[in-house]
């Protein structure tokens, strides 16, 4: 194992090289800053694709494992590895950063160097979260991502950015404290942070419940589940496009990932004990956030609320304890990253041209800005789960899987599908249909950087929608493994 090439470390730390290079580039030379960042992440993305293709999906357990001493005095190790659950998130994370660089190419004009530094730093933390198999290491990356995100929202955000970023920080930090306490408690019991060692260790039921709640609070806030979701609309609305894309694409996925990775296998009894509660909260999130979308007047806020609704499906699928539901949930996280990320990029494109996020400002864009309208339509359809797009596969598997374990919940959750169609098409109508407004003519056509960020998403929407097997097969072994802990 030790002789193996440390590809995970390479993927994880490669952006650091970019960061170091950026320090040597004059801040006035913005073009060079952008190109260096782009190339760094492009290589990182290529490596993560290479990883994806070399992943053996039939083999159980973790692959490409790296384990080095890190903090020997507390028995914490630098322990990295991927399995069928995390493998999809590595390319998703690097892709998200890549697209953020492209979409910010022209729209970020102040403090360009700092912005790209923050993006590269975010990439390290995001990838780290999905690779770490040592609880302490995981926690470090989990927290580390707050710093660049705090800055990205707080510096390059909209008018109410300070309020939003503090709210975001306080919320998530509040959750993290419980996560840390729970991790420390586990360390006290077993003297290790080693995830693999802890798998299959049992706790007394009382302790297990408390630990479960400790982890849950952190994850639930990140997801975000109802009722701890109110930071998300604010953060999304005020964040710059890249910030929104990272939030939607990766940051809130960390919560869902944490649930599959830690809650189910480490605390199986507590998971089953609390499952009902989480299913109910998920259904509330789906319906409540969906209804909230109907009344939004702000483009980004609407999409942010739709995220809450979509993530409700994800938590529903995870706590179905059923391979179909869990696979659907993991795939839906990827889907949501793609679709909602793309929608935020689309909003960014139009915001850069008109500087308005008010839905009522628009109307008739289908006539005035046709290519853009077509792209937006594709993501709208994916968001409402039209068969043939990726959104359908995720939703269908989640609902079907959950139906096998709990029928009543699905009856309520499936109403979200109706509401979803209503609010997205209502949004589309208000922005793109009817008579075009005079001032919307003559908008600058979409730039190459914008198109190169958005068009690949179209490809992914249809690839996952029409041939999901490619992605679902990756998870099979690991999902089955997780489920063995539950029974």
């Amino acid at each position: 194992m030790d002789t193996q090439f440390p590809i995970l470390s390479l993927i994880l730390w490669l952006p650091l090289i970019g960061i170091i290079l950026l320090f040597f580039i004059n801040r006035k030379n913005e073009q060079a800053i952008k190109i260096v960042s782009l190339l760094t992440i492009l290589i990182d993305f290529a490596l993560s694709i290479y990883l994806l293709f070399n992943f053996d999906y039939s083999a159980p357990g973790f692959q490409f494992v790296e384990k080095k001493a890190w903090l020997p005095f507390i028995n914490s190790t630098y322990f990295l590895g991927v399995d069928g659950i995390s493998i999809l998130f590595i390319p998703l994370a690097t892709l998200t950063t890549l697209l953020c660089i492209l979409i910010s190419w022209h729209s970020i004009k102040d403090m360009v160097k700092e912005f790209y530094l923050a993006l590269l730093f975010t990439n390290i933390a995001m990838v780290g979260v999905f690779l770490a198999l040592d609880l302490l290491l995981f926690y470090v990356f989990w927290e580390a991502i707050l710093i660049p995100m705090y800055l990205i929202i707080g510096i390059w955000g909209g008018p109410r950015r300070i309020y939003s970023t503090i709210k975001f920080f306080l919320y998530t930090f509040f959750g993290s404290v419980f996560l840390l306490i729970a991790i420390l408690y586990i360390y006290n019991l077993y003297g290790t942070f080693d995830y693999q060692y802890l798998l299959g260790r049992s706790f007394s039921f009382e302790v297990e419940k408390l630990l479960f709640l400790g982890f849950l609070i952190a994850f639930a806030i990140k997801v975000p589940m109802w009722p701890v979701h109110t930071w998300l609309p604010d953060a999304h609305t005020e964040a710059p496009t890249a910030g929104s894309v990272i939030l939607a694409g990766i940051l809130i996925k960390m919560g869902g990932y944490g649930m599959v990775r830690f809650l189910l296998p480490l605390f199986p009894n507590a998971s089953e004990y609390f499952a009902k509660m989480i299913l109910v909260l998920s259904v509330i999130a789906i319906i409540y956030a969906g209804l909230a979308c109907l009344w939004q007047t702000d483009l980004k806020r609407l999409i942010a609320y739709s995220s809450v609704s979509h993530m409700g499906f994800v938590t529903l699928g995870i706590f179905s304890f059923n391979p179909i539901g869990i696979k659907g949930a993991i795939l839906q996280m990827v889907n949501h990253g793609i679709v909602t990320g793309a929608l935020f990029m689309c909003v960014g494109v139009i915001y850069d041209r008109t500087h308005s996020r008010a839905i009522s400002y628009y109307g008739g864009l289908a006539t005035a800005f046709p290519l853009y309208s077509a792209l937006f339509m594709i993501f709208t359809l994916a968001s409402i789960g039209l068969p043939g797009t990726n959104g359908f596969v995720g939703e269908f598997l989640i609902l079907l899987g959950t139906f096998l374990s709990n029928k009543i919940v699905v009856v309520f959750a499936a109403t979200g599908v109706i509401i979803g169609a209503a609010y997205m098409l209502y949004l589309y109508k208000r922005v793109f249909f009817e008579k075009p407004k005079e001032y919307l003519f003559g908008l600058e056509p979409m730039k190459v950087t914008e198109l190169s960020a958005i068009v690949p998403m179209v490809f992914l929407v249809f690839l996952i929608g029409l041939y999901p097997k490619l992605f679902l097969d990756l998870m099979t072994t690991s999902v089955v493994q997780i489920l063995t802990y539950l029974r």
Partner: protein, 646 residues
Amino acid sequence: MNVTVVLIPALPLIASFITLIFGKRYFKDKAHVLPVLSLFGSFILSLFVLYDVIQGRTYNFDLYSWLVAGSLKVGLGFQVDPLSAMMCAMVTSLSFLIHVYSIGYMHGDPGYYRFFSYISLFTFSMLMLVLGNNLAQLFLGWELVGLCSYLLIGFWYEKRSAANAAIKAFVVNRVGDFGFALGIFMVFYYLGTLYYTEIFEKLPSIKTAYIEILGYEVYVPFLIAFLLFCGAMGKSAQFPLHVWLPDAMEGPTPVSALIHAATMVTAGVFMVSRLSPLYVMSDEAMAMVAFVGAFTCFMAATIAPTQFDIKRVIAYSTLSQLGYMFMACGVGAFSAGMFHLFTHAYFKALLFLGAGSVIHAMHHAPDPNDIRYMGGLKKYMPITYATFLIASLSISGIPGLAGFFSKDEILAMAYFSPYPWGKAIWLIGLIVAGFTAFYTFRIFFKAFHGEFRGRSYLHGKEPHESPKVMTIPLILISIGAIFSGWLGIPESLGGGAHFQKFLEQVVYHHEVEITDHTLEYGLMVLSVVAGLIGISLAYLIYVKNPRLETLFSSNFKKLYKFLYNKWYFDELYHYVFVVPTFFLARTFVNLIVDTFVIDQTVNGSAKATTSFGSLLQRIHNGIINYYLWGIILGLILYFVVYYYLS
């Protein structure tokens, strides 16, 4: 041969994509070439496949694995049997002709390429729907035709009413699909598969299955049938989800003919027939199908005579005819329902395209759809007139034309049905047959007879016949509107009922032996008389004595208003569903909970944190003495606590 089957839907898909991407810049007014050619290809291939099936060769294969997770394994696959081969031939033949017609109808529209791309995409989706070999693919086609319907209803999206109608169609259909999806889940839960053939094999295992819902024991096959039927009510616009179809007339007329009359809206009937072995397991399910159909059939027939928009009248007539098809299914005569679906596709498409031809001629009028501006068009548009007459006679059930055979088949099967509600269904069907003839000939006489009333809008010009590219499809479809019924002439009239026997290889059928042929002929005469009464009444009111026109509306004001306003369903749904939903969204969700309850708690804690922070700030004042004191105090506290705990 598998390749042939796959090519049938693939050709229009490819044409649609190429047209959408390159149409605007490169094809321009030639954008129709590729879709028309591809549809012609699909049509020819469908005929080959149909011939194969008639020879007894059927296909069932998966193209590739689509959804694979846990015990779920579903492919994108094709099942070619009498049912799907027949649908395929019908869809491609009509779609091809309507594509050709659209060359003339859509000429000069800025969205010309977009129209042909969408309508080809629709044809692809519809073919996927009918050719699929499992429920998941049925759902795929089901939703995709819904999407195309949405895109085409909202084709002229700059018009507010079109944009609203598009959303309404999609969302109302989603309500039905909600049930449809749950039905699919139920099938998978109880039978562990979504493939038709496997479902039918495993159906006996749920013969005695019950599920408890809110304390009631519900028969599982009934529940599944009901949930799936919700989807059919949406797609086939049956009560209570019928409200979207009349509004869907905002789309271009060829769309109304192809999607909202001939093909997509019949998907519900197709689905029920496809799953007929499931439906016949539960008498309650059959009764539900029959009465939902009968109610819609009757309701729509009462609304149609009060409307003035020629397309809306035909739309209500479609609702009504779809009701007939469900009535047939609900009395166990699935093949009769499919037969009516088949003939209806031709005569109803012909009615719509004829109306389109008229609208094309009337486009200078303030509302080209309003029959009150028309009149006397017979003189100016002889071909449209003749074909419209054929379609009207066909739908009215005049012997010899397609509609007669299929409608009579339904009425006879209802009357002789083994189900106790058969005779009631027959009676409703008979009454509505009279209504149908009346309102169809009402628009026929209003549009083509009498004096032309729109002259003042034509600036001295005369209305003119549509170009050949539109009239030739009309002529070709009128052949279908006459002869498609001849495929299923019953034995009592000297035919062989080939159509029904062909389908009964795959759809469920009761062995109904009609022994009393005198009674059968009597029923036939009755339904023809009902049709003739309707026509004569229309002639009396709208040609002979136009003063009678207001007889009903002025004497039964309340009832007339009720019918004119479509039984107030739109208003009812608006106040019962739309308004409360938005109210909930606005007050409850956004104002009360989010800003007050949740955020106040969080902001409260934020305030607490800030004040705690400012307290700490006072300590962090940079004076070393304070820090030292702090360290010492901290150490003392630590030791005290440590000592106390141990």
